[in-house]
Amino acid sequence: MLALLRNQKVRGILFQILTILSVVAFLWYIGDNTMTNIEQRGIKTGFAFLDGTAGFEIDEAPISFSSSDTYGRVFLVGLLNTLIVTFVGIIFATILGLLVGILRLSKNWLIRKIATAYIDIFRNIPILLQILFWYNVVLNAMPSPKQSLEFVGGIFVNNRGLYIPKPDMNSTTIFVLTSLAIVFVSIYLLNKWANKRQETTGEDFPVIIVGFSALVLVPIVAYFIGGADFNFDYPALRGFNFQGGKTISPEFLALTFALVIYTATFIAEAIRSGIEAVSKGQKEAAASIGLSGYQALKLVVLPQAIRIAIPPVINQYLNLAKNSSLAAAVGYPEIITLFAGITLNQVGQAIEIIAITMLVYLTISLVVSALLNWFNHKMKIKER
């Protein structure tokens, strides 16, 4: 008997059985307690509450919403707002992070120091503190609607948000927007073709110059073809507040601003370390076979730097999505505020609601890690 216990395999199996038993016992214990507690307190169970009438209004709903809509629709509004903040945040954080990451490697001493100082300052301040700071200090200090700060092009800022002109959906606008979409798709295809040509014939094609000029010229041409008739709906002060145009709420501004500034520091670091990780020998080898500085960067340094820099950057995107949950502190109506906050308070079915909320974030995480795996697979060094 004792000899059997000394056998490693037997012990392994025993240990695992014990683990299963204790996990099951624990789950049974808390499950049983939960059922008793729920019964005693008269809390309902199940997901029928999603069809119940919400009875509250939402200020910023990307889809139409009124107080007679269901909690299911509240969930949808929250989910959409989470995705909107995440999407906008990712775009601006990438731009800022890329810029700062490159500036940190600049030969200019002052610029390098400013970029480093920016990173050292903002990554060491809790994100929640930054959100509250922008919301309570900076946006609160903005003037009232009557004394709004006015910028060129009919943009106004006051303590109720940012007001920007909204283009009318007439033929010109549609033409310009479609032309932009076409240009982006063609640049993508052109780049693919140019890479292929480069690999087979060795001839270089100036994708950046051609693409950039297309990006500027084509919309201008489209503007004139479409009737040269841009019509903006300008925000204007009527009574005590602004009407018309597009309003961006202070909650959204503070949240996105803080998320962008905080996440960009991490993205900048990832990009810097990616570029620095390319060994000096690679650059020297590129120079020795006669590549120009630009060619060396495009053909030798960047392909290797991207392989190292992208995975941490994608992880930062995931962090940004998770940090968007801090909207609850300023009341921006995303999933935590609307669903785990207001809906939970009204319905009281904590287990279901928090499970759904967690599931949303888990799904986002799974999608992101699938993306990461796909990228790593695609970027694996292909040895010929």
């Binding site: 200019n108 002052l110 503190l129 509250l132 200090v137 949950s325 801090l326 502190a329 904590a350």
Partner: protein, 361 residues
């Protein structure tokens, strides 16, 4: 016969050292560089002087009443008046000496550590210290008045939450990391599920879970303190991240080390604790410090579930009708404290990284 003429010698370069050369090389080497430098200077000029004016030159530092803030800049008098609140929350003023004693004991411990190099003794001293500080802070024994956790707050609460989170997440994280590396499939899948579930959701959902759902899990009559609930959530959240970092360290250990430990007949736990873990921790420490920095930043989230940490104190202190409108000073002060803590830790982790790097090579 070719005639060679002596060419005029080139003038020596004006300087390869010194201020001018450095400026030329680093700031004004090309037109683009010059432009960048100028815009950098403009940016600094736009930010720094107004901030310094507000925070230092036009600010009021001395006094005790609002009326003494006359010069238009920051009113640091507010911080001065509310400093006890920022530091200790609503902790009774008569009992604050207990917190100060607990703080001062840290110095005593540092001194003792100089004399005792043995890890066992150090560990026992630390354990003793935490027990003593708990008794000091919470009271209820030895004639000390009991201070309920609702009165804890400010920086002291932030430090308590961060410390407890770090100390308890560490052993849990190590065990989960071992489990994840284990050959036993069920143990492994339990640990993987735990880590991936926790890392896939934001901390705030875990905190909601521990503050709202956790009480439902236990029979009527078992009640948890609000602070304890937050600590449970934070610890289990942090443990998943600690486990990931330690797993990174474990994976860097060559399999020869495991085999060697097996060959000399060590048991699983002897092998892991005496051979593998010390090496793995050394690799993982820089990342672990990084994880602890984010834990320290994450402690601010407890304000969402109604605890009064340092950040929450800003709102409470500025809600005082006498000091209305002093939020900016409060936020700047609190930002400075958080920044100093986090920056200090990240510097320390950089230092450790360098130290360990040279050791390995």
């Amino acid at each position: 016969m070719a005639v060679y003429e002596l060419k005029q010698t080139l003038e020596a370069p004006s300087s390869t050292k010194g201020m001018i050369h450095w400026l030329k090389d680093n700031l004004f080497s090309t037109p683009i560089n010059t432009l960048l430098t100028l815009s950098g200077v403009a940016l600094l000029f736009y930010i720094i002087p107004p901030f310094l004016n507000w925070a230092v030159f036009d600010a009021d530092f001395v006094g005790s009443t609002r009326e003494q803030c006359t010069s238009g800049g920051a009113c640091w008098v507010f911080i001065h008046a509310k400093i006890d609140m920022f530091m200790y929350g609503f902790y009774p003023a008569a009992e604050v000496w207990r917190l100060k004693t607990a703080l001062a004991l840290i110095l005593v411990i540092v001194a003792i550590f100089k004399f005792f190099k043995s890890n066992k003794i150090r560990f026992s001293i630390l354990t003793l210290y935490f027990i003593i500080s708990y008794i000091l802070i919470s009271g209820g024994y030895f004639g000390l008045e009991h201070v309920p956790t609702e009165k804890w707050g400010g920086l002291m609460l932030t430090v308590v939450v961060a410390t407890v989170g770090i100390i308890f997440s560490f052993p849990i994280g190590i065990i989960v990391a071992f489990g994840r590396q284990s050959d036993l499939p069920i143990i492994k899948s339990v640990c993987v599920t735990y880590v991936e579930l926790i890392r896939g959701v934001p901390l705030i959902t875990i905190l909601f879970m521990s503050s709202i759902v956790l009480p439902l899990f236990f029979p009527e009559g078992v009640t948890f303190d609000k602070l304890l609930r937050a600590l449970i959530g934070l610890t289990f959240f942090q443990a998943a991240y600690v486990a990931e970092n330690i797993r990174g360290g474990l994976q860097s250990i060559p399999s020869g080390q495991y085999e060697a430990a097996d060959a000399i007949g060590l048991s699983y736990w002897q092998k892991m604790i005496l051979v593998i873990l010390p090496q793995a921790l050394k690799v993982a420490i820089p990342n672990l410090v990084g994880a602890f920095i984010s834990l320290f930043q994450d402690t601010t989230l407890v304000l969402i579930i109604g605890l009064f940490d340092l950040l929450a104190m800003v709102r409470i202190a500025a809600a005082d009708s006498y000091w209305l409108g002093m939020e900016t000073e409060g936020y700047v002060f609190v930002t400075a404290i958080f920044w100093a803590f986090c920056y200090g830790m990240s510097r320390y982790s950089n230092k450790l990284e360098k130290q360990f790097n040279t050791n390995l090579k």
